[in-house]
Point group: C2
Chain length 299, copies 2
């Protein structure tokens, strides 16, 4: 089955202590869509400007991403620029040029509206909800977010969280949302808002799922070297939703393996700038790392 | 088989944001010995002063800990006092009174010298080596440490690490020792010093083993509430070595399950002040949490 992904489609200029890469393909929808494409068909919703490089359109197409929902508008593509410190957990934004994203209203082509799986990747919660309003009885809807929306659009975000099956956020966001230091107390509070499935991401420490079938402690794939972690969280949810959409059986039966696959795709994302590494690996590479994670966690 | 444990035996006065508990039973050897005692016989080496409460001697005995190696010297028992912030990862030492620990020289009773399993719990590396020098061909020797020894006794510590089978340290200590931010690069560098088994502890994020049979990503047991994390690391290595000493088969066949059991005992340690909670649970409680961790990590 196909997965519909809405989010940002951007150009990312990324500086690390050793390298600088201008105008890479980025944005939450780009990372999530490429990650999901390892497992099955993806329908993407987003907006780019007239300056959007053709090679990036080709890259989406190479990954069989359906672009019927990608709007091309007069103006400039959303451009984000950020700089990482030696400790890659510390990042600061140098520049945000919204461009055509400022007036973006995601409109779904008819063929998109019946997608059984929906990933509302990180964008403003009002836009995520606008997409949800256009869907016809999706089977499984997951929303991701970021601290910005907790700060400037909390009521919209709460309204959205009530309506989704799964909600994904990182540990500091969970603390900010619930006022709870402890992850497990935070998980309980988030369930009370609505979602049956809550996933808290902990970066290189992996992630935790709380679901009707209990917890799952999902490891991160151990990396010797992190080149650029931009998009790792988006790749994680994208890979997870792509796997879920392609798997037979219930969500409960598949979500753990889906998270492991997402975790592995995120590991590849970290090994190159932007999507450079993710777009060079194959499903066989992903399966190999899943196998390794299985070996490294059994007891 | 029995495990010999050397380390500190102390009185801990611990303050948290909500409670204050003076002169609890503490020290690396106390925590590790009680943790190991769930699984089999323990021989403890340490020193206390004449002020050491009889009830604590009774507590050791209740756990069948062999005290032939516990010296009682004129003077006062080692006393440590510390305070935790709301975020329990942040602790500051208020007071350290060495007492009889200042002139401690661990001497092994004859019956101890043939113990097949040896845990050099956290004390000065010169004392850890002094114990090792008295052993007759132990089967498996593991050393734990703390940042203090990296700061004031690094040459002694390196000398010790070269001689042990397993070395355990936390993530910030691994970074300090190797100059490497990345855990997996740090693990490689520590193997080069000597030990075949290196375990890096990451607190509530679990731990990582690097061994001849590859990695093991060991989860922490998820806790809703942490009362006092003092001694959690000691409980982890103590539980691990106690399990290993009692298990049939090779180290490689058992070390993952041993770490899981250590992780679970450490979780109980965190749920009460000092050893209050650990000394109230049974092996059945430990097994129940091991079972839960198995459910929460399978995929």
């Amino acid at each position: 089955m196909s997965v519909l992904i809405v989010g940002s489609t951007a150009l990312d200029s990324i500086k690390t202590p050793t390298q600088e890469n201008p105008k890479l393909l980025g944005g939450s929808a780009s990372h999530a869509a490429v990650a999901a494409s390892f497992f099955g068909p993806v329908k993407m919703v987003g907006v780019v400007g007239e300056d959007f490089p053709k090679k990036y359109v080709q890259l989406y197409k190479k990954h069989d991403i359906d672009l019927a929902g990608l709007q091309i508008k007069p103006g400039k593509t959303f451009h984000w620029s950020g700089e990482y410190e030696v400790n890659m957990n510390n990042r600061r934004t140098l520049l945000t040029e919204l461009g055509v994203f400022e007036t973006f209203s995601p409109e779904l082509p008819k063929a998109y509206q019946s997608s059984p799986f929906v990933l509302l990747a990180n964008i403003a919660p009002a836009l995520q909800e606008h997409v949800l309003n256009q869907m016809q009885r999706p089977k499984f809807v997951v929303a991701d977010t970021m601290d910005l929306w907790l700060n400037i659009a909390l009521p919209d975000l709460i309204k959205l969280i009530k309506r989704v099956d799964g909600f994904v956020l990182n540990d500091s966001e969970a603390q900010q949302l619930t006022g709870e230091d402890n992850i497990f107390t935070a998980l309980k509070k988030i369930h009370k808002i609505g979602p049956k499935y809550v996933i808290i991401k902990k970066g290189s420490h992996g992630s935790i799922l709380s679901s009707p079938k209990g917890f799952f402690i999902c490891p991160a794939y151990p990396l010797q070297s992190v080149v650029d972690p931009t998009g790792a969280g988006d790749s994680f949810v994208g890979g997870m939703m792509g796997y879920l959409a392609s798997a037979k059986g219930s969500i409960d039966a598949n979500i753990r393996r889906a998270m492991i696959h997402g975790s592995v795709v995120a590991s590849f994302c970290c090994e190159g700038f932007g999507l450079n590494r993710t777009t060079k690996v194959t499903l066989a590479h992903v399966k190999q790392r899943v196998k390794e994670l299985k070996q490294w966690t059994r007891f």
